[in-house]
């Protein structure tokens, strides 16, 4: 697939074979793999004389986006097929989290100037939101 993504034009099996730098794969192996990719929908093929020309069905970025959209719950993971480490948060919540991070003594990812809070505690208020309170 990497070879297909890097090429702008459709390639024949021989051309794909030639561009595979990693291993010496038999011509038939490359053909089988391309055939399987086409059947699974990742590659499209068109006849060119007697040979087939293969190209990627979608860009690499498109597939990465599909992966990430599932991971970020943007497509509404109705199936709950994955277990995310941290659920998506709203903007206000993200700001509160960033403040809590700074309170712990770590500079926020975006914030260059982190305030010196000294001894701060991260605590819950009535609604369970993380707030930092400055102690001594």
């Amino acid at each position: 697939m990497d070879v297909l993504w890097e090429s702008r034009d459709p390639l024949t099996v021989r051309q794909v074979s030639g561009r595979l730098t990693e291993r010496d794969l038999a011509h038939t192996t490359v053909m089988t793999v391309l055939d399987r990719l086409a059947k699974k929908g990742f590659a499209r093929r068109e006849r060119d004389g007697r040979a087939w020309r293969y190209r990627a069905a979608a860009t690499r970025e498109a597939y990465v986006t599909e992966l990430m959209l599932n991971a970020l719950e943007q497509t509404g993971d109705r199936h709950a097929a994955l277990a995310r480490f941290a659920r998506s948060v709203s903007d206000t919540e993200a700001t509160a989290l960033r403040r809590a991070l700074e309170a712990l003594g770590h500079p926020g990812a975006r914030d260059g100037n982190s305030h010196e809070h000294g001894q701060s505690t991260v605590s819950e208020d009535g609604q369970g939101r993380v707030r930092e309170a400055t102690g001594e």
Binding site: K40, E66, M68, E73, L82, A83, E93, L97, R129
Partner: protein, 310 residues
């Protein structure tokens, strides 16, 4: 109305406020495993009572009890004896309704499982094409995307995935904490624990109880994995990893992504962080026993009413 049917109907209806009470309670955070067991018992008890109430309507007066009565009714029908109109017909209808509900509940479980398996297969295929390993996260796969996220794909061929953005964002200790958390999910098959609630949510999307139950169990499962990860890493490492990934969420979201608006619910990440940094004492043995007894009763009561003869 026959007594058994009434009791079962009241029980089923009573499961709803019980669910809300459990959702609003604070003690689950102190022992997530116990709370999860109680939630499961509540779901199962509700199912038994709802199906049972309908079946009991149809078998009222049968001396063999609900289960026995339903079986004898079924055998009468199968033997071709005339099921006369009127009371008997209504009885049959009630039993059929109960059976239908039972089948529906099984069906939503099967359908949800199929959907999950399909989604995971797609993930694994894409990962095999796009992801690669990285020495910073041994045993996990990395996807080249700037948005910071990490997740696992449960199942027989499980995978742990970390985005390139997360790799840049977190230091070695925090990454190790993330991996420990995800491994706990995979090892203890938390996905199976959550599956029935996901199925109920899909089937009863309009029901706020179903939504709440699913959200609660999902959060408890995350807390459980957090606890397991604490066996290997410190609370602080896990908490900062959570904060970093949570705070960065959406910064590099793919175009076309929608913002998650969840204003009313508590921020899950914030709750988990507070819990890690200021842990409340675990529930002691007597409290755990009480929860266990409650869970057992929630299942045993409807089951008993279903099985025992009048």
């Amino acid at each position: 109305m026959p007594a058994t049917a009434l009791v079962l109907a009241v029980f089923a209806a009573g499961c709803i406020p019980a669910a809300w009470a459990l959702a609003g309670a604070r003690w689950p955070r102190r022992s997530p495993a116990a709370a999860i067991v109680l939630w499961q018992a509540l779901g199962l008890g509700w199912g038994l009572a709802a199906v049972g109430a309908l079946a009991a309507l149809g078998t009222a007066g049968a001396r063999a009890g609900v289960a026995g009565g339903a079986l004898s009714l079924a055998s009468r029908v199968l033997q071709g004896r005339s099921v006369a109109a009127g009371i008997l017909g209504l009885r049959l209808l009630a039993v059929l309704a109960g059976l239908l509900l039972l089948l529906l509940l099984f069906w939503i479980l099967v359908a949800a499982s199929a959907g999950v398996l399909r989604a995971r297969r797609r993930q694994r295929v894409l990962l095999s094409l796009l992801a690669h390993g990285d020495p910073k996260v041994p045993g996990a796969l990395v996807v080249d995307h700037p948005a910071a996220t990490a997740y696992c794909v449960p199942g027989l061929r499980s995978r742990i995935v970390v985005s390139a953005g997360a790799l840049d964002l977190l230091d070695q200790a925090e990454l190790a904490a993330v991996l420990a958390h995800e491994r706990a999910h995979l090892r203890e098959r938390h996905d199976l624990v959550l599956l029935p609630f996901t199925a109920l949510l899909r089937a009863f999307r309009w029901s706020s109880v179903a939504c709440e139950a699913h959200a609660c169990v999902a959060l408890l499962v995350e807390m459980l994995a957090d606890d397991r990860a604490l066996r290997h890493r410190s609370a602080r490492e896990l908490a900062t990893a959570l904060l970093r990934v949570g705070a960065a969420g959406g910064a590099h979201a793919p175009t076309g992504a929608l913002a998650v608006a969840d204003g009313t619910a508590e921020c899950q990440v914030a709750v988990r962080v507070s819990r890690l940094l200021r842990p409340a004492p675990r529930l002691r043995a007597p409290a755990l026993v009480l929860v266990g007894v409650l869970a057992a009763a929630t299942v045993a009561i409807p089951a008993a009413f279903l099985a025992m003869p009048f």
